[in-house]
Symmetry: C2
Subunit: 170 residues, 2 copies
C-alpha cells in the first residue's frame, strides 16, 4: 500500500492561519484534492482538520474518513467515518486490511509530522498557492526528522497554483 501526503500550502508552507482559516485554497486546488482523495477512497485526518471540515460543511468526504484523535467523539456519521486513537502505523494496517491500495494523509500539521517522523510517507503532493502568511500552522509541526525527497513531477493546477510531487527517499 502506498502512503500519500497531500496538502495545499502557502508559498512559505503554511497550511492554515493560526485560527485554522484555509481561505487561501483555490478552487483549482480543491478540485485536485478531492479528485485524488476519491481515487484513494480514504482520508486520514486529525481532530482539528475534522472539526474545520465539519465547520466548512464538507464533512464527511466522499470516501472512508479516518479521524485520528485521543478524544472520545460520538460518531453521528455512520459507516463512512471512523474515529480512532490508534497510532499512525496501526491506522495504515487498518487501511491495508480493508484492501486500499493508497492511504491518503491530509493534515493537520501534527498528524503530518507524526507520519513523517515514523517514516511512513511514500509520496508527497504539495499544491503551492500564491500567498505568504507570516504566522500560521506549518505543514509539519516542529518534529525531529530530516528527509530527502525526489522530485517526480510538477504540474500547474491553474496559472497561479503549482503542484510539486515528491517521492520520499528511504
Amino acid at each position: 500500500m502506498k502512503v500519500v501526503l497531500y496538502m495545499a500550502i502557502t508559498a512559505n508552507s503554511m497550511i492554515a492561519k493560526e485560527d485554522d482559516d484555509t481561505s487561501f485554497v483555490s478552487d483549482a486546488e480543491w478540485d485536485s484534492f478531492t479528485k485524488v482523495l476519491k481515487q484513494a477512497g480514504n482520508y486520514v485526518m486529525g481532530r482539528r482538520t475534522y472539526e474545520e471540515s465539519v465547520n466548512a460543511d464538507v464533512f464527511p468526504y466522499d470516501c472512508l474518513n479516518v479521524v485520528m484523535t485521543k478524544q472520545k467523539i460520538k460518531n453521528k456519521w455512520g459507516d463512512r467515518v471512523i474515529f480512532t486513537d490508534k497510532s499512525p502505523r496501526e491506522v495504515l494496517n487498518l487501511l491495508k486490511e480493508k484492501g486500499f491500495a493508497t492511504a491518503f494523509i491530509g493534515g493537520g500539521g501534527e498528524l503530518n509530522a507524526s507520519f513523517m517522523r515514523d517514516g511512513l510517507i511514500d509520496e508527497i503532493f504539495i499544491d503551492v498557492e500564491p500567498w505568504v502568511y507570516g504566522k500560521g500552522i506549518p505543514l509539519f509541526a516542529p518534529t525531529d526528522f530530516e528527509v530527502r525527497l525526489e522530485l517526480l513531477d510538477t504540474k500547474k493546477l491553474s496559472d497561479q497554483t503549482i503542484q510539486l510531487h515528491y517521492r520520499v527517499k528511504k
Copy 2:
C-alpha cells in the same frame, strides 16, 4: 528600485537547520543565487547569514555586502562591506542613493520577515530543494503579515530543484 527576496528553501520552507546548516542547497541553486546576486550588485543580509557566509568561506560576495545588525562589528573587509543598524527602509534608501536598480534581500528568516512586514518586497524567488526538515529556520520568522502573491514564472534549475518566482501584490 525593485526589491527582490531570493532564498533557497526545503519543500517545507526551511532556509536552514536549527544550527544554521544549509547543506541542502544544491550546486544548481547556488549558481542561480550567485548569478542573480551579481546582477543586482548588492546583497542585504542579517548578522547570522553574514557569520554563516564567513564560516562557509563565501564572504564577502562579489557585490556590495550590506550586513544589518545592532552589534558593533569591526569591518575588516573594506569598501565592499557595510555593517549597519539602519531600518529596512533606510537600507533601501541607501541602495537607491547609490544608484542600484535592484536591492537583493537574502536571509535570514528574521531579516526576511522584517522587510515583508514593512511591505518593502516587490518580488520573491524561492528555489525549492528536495528535502523536508521537521525542525529548522523558516523562510519568515513568525510575524504578523499576510500577503497575496502573483506567480510570474516557474523554472527548473535542475531535475530536482524548482524555482518559483512571485510578485508581491500591494
